[in-house]
């Protein structure tokens, strides 16, 4: 329960930081996604078992800010959470390798979901240019700030787990 309660202010703060600062730091058209990285970072920690709740809360907050359809945003973050869960449980137990792989696959998956949503909105997409101008910079920027986010979120996950054990 504490994990769910904590997810609300944390994801709210991350959403604000994303909108105010992170989205303004661009390489070409791409920018980092700290919500995605937070979900991935939480997903590879042993302590956090409510990653899908965090993804849902993050998706809801981002959908308030973004002009993207809410369903696409929330689905994208839930898919990222699912990918992280599968990668961590099924492929790599090591958190470092798991977050690298999860953030890479998660970024690509979110990109594909966004593209599909934009197609539904009737927006023309130059696919090769979009990959070059958006996806590649997204991957690079996500990689840059992945480990700082991971260190913060893993500490937070440990703290939440301790509180939950104490409460339980």
């Amino acid at each position: 329960m504490i994990s769910v309660i904590v997810s609300i202010p944390i994801m709210l703060i991350l959403s604000v930081i994303q909108s105010v600062a992170v989205s303004r730091v661009n390489i070409m058209s791409g920018s980092a996604d700290i919500i995605l990285l937070a979900i991935v970072s939480l997903g590879v920690t042993e302590e956090n078992r409510k990653i899908f709740i965090w993804a849902l809360v993050g998706g809801i907050f981002i959908s308030f800010i973004s002009a993207m359809p809410a369903a696409a945003v929330i689905t994208a973050y839930l898919v990222v959470a699912g990918i992280t869960w599968i990668v961590h449980k099924g492929i790599w137990q090591s958190p470092i390798l798991a977050i690298l792989l999860s953030s890479f696959i998660g970024t690509v998956a979110k990109f594909i979901i966004d593209i599909i949503a934009l197609q539904f909105l009737g927006i023309n997409i130059d696919f090769p240019a979009t990959i070059k101008m958006t996806l590649a910079p997204n991957l690079i920027l996500n990689l840059f700030i992945l480990f700082p986010i991971y260190s913060i979120m893993s500490d937070l996950a440990k703290w939440v787990a301790q509180k939950e054990e104490y409460e339980g």
């Binding site: 996604d33 973004s66 002009a67």
Partner: protein, 281 residues
Amino acid sequence: MNSISPRTLRYVVAFLFIIGLILLSLGGVVRPFLGIVMDPFVTAQRWLSERYMAVYDFFTLPRDVTELLQRNAQLENELSNLQSQVIQLQEQLRETEVLYSLLDFARSRPQDQYIAAAVIGKDPSPFLHYVIIDHGSDDGVQHGMPVVTQQGLVGRVAAVTASASRVRLITDPESVVNVRLQGQNEDALAEGSITGDVTLGMVSQNVTLNSGDILLTSGLGGNFPTDILVGQVVNVEKTENELFQTASVQPVIDFAGLRAVLVIKNFKTINIQPLLPVPVQ
């Protein structure tokens, strides 16, 4: 002879001796001798002075260092305070400059009424080009209102909450602005894209399009007021077998550094959709 006492004689001799020494010293004759006599004293005094100062420093310097360190820390604190003040003042100055230029723009278009707003965020999606401003319906902002700066057209309000609004930039893929070429009676469309590039389309092949041509809003479609600067033509693409020629447009506004905008509040957008012809089934 007896009148000169031996004592007086000694005084006279001593006086003469002294006078003689003075005269010799003035002539520079005594200096080498004085040097021989004084040098050991000077050396000894220097040695003693150095030792004394070393001992003095030993007892006094640590206290001075502590004082200096305290003073240094105090000055560093003052310096950092002053530096932060300088940064704040520079920030205020920059903001004031932006507001002054917005005010100048507003004065140059007295027919329009404006709501000044600060840009407080950007759409997190890298595909869409929206900014969030700190004024909403409580301040009179409504959906569809055009947004400008002193430089030119920014976009239009796409969503409104009580205290904030989302503005669709002209670089957004869903943005289409009716423009006209300055100095020519030709209309065209400026369309945004996912990558943030603006393209000029629907320009007849008969029109002479050159790099550097200025684009202004035409007012067609009823979405934007007329004669607001949009951008400049950069690259012209003219293919013979195409119906229209296209061109890349460099918007006049640096959207990455957008800090404050003006929402035109007395402009009524016109929905021309019902007037458009419906295709016969």
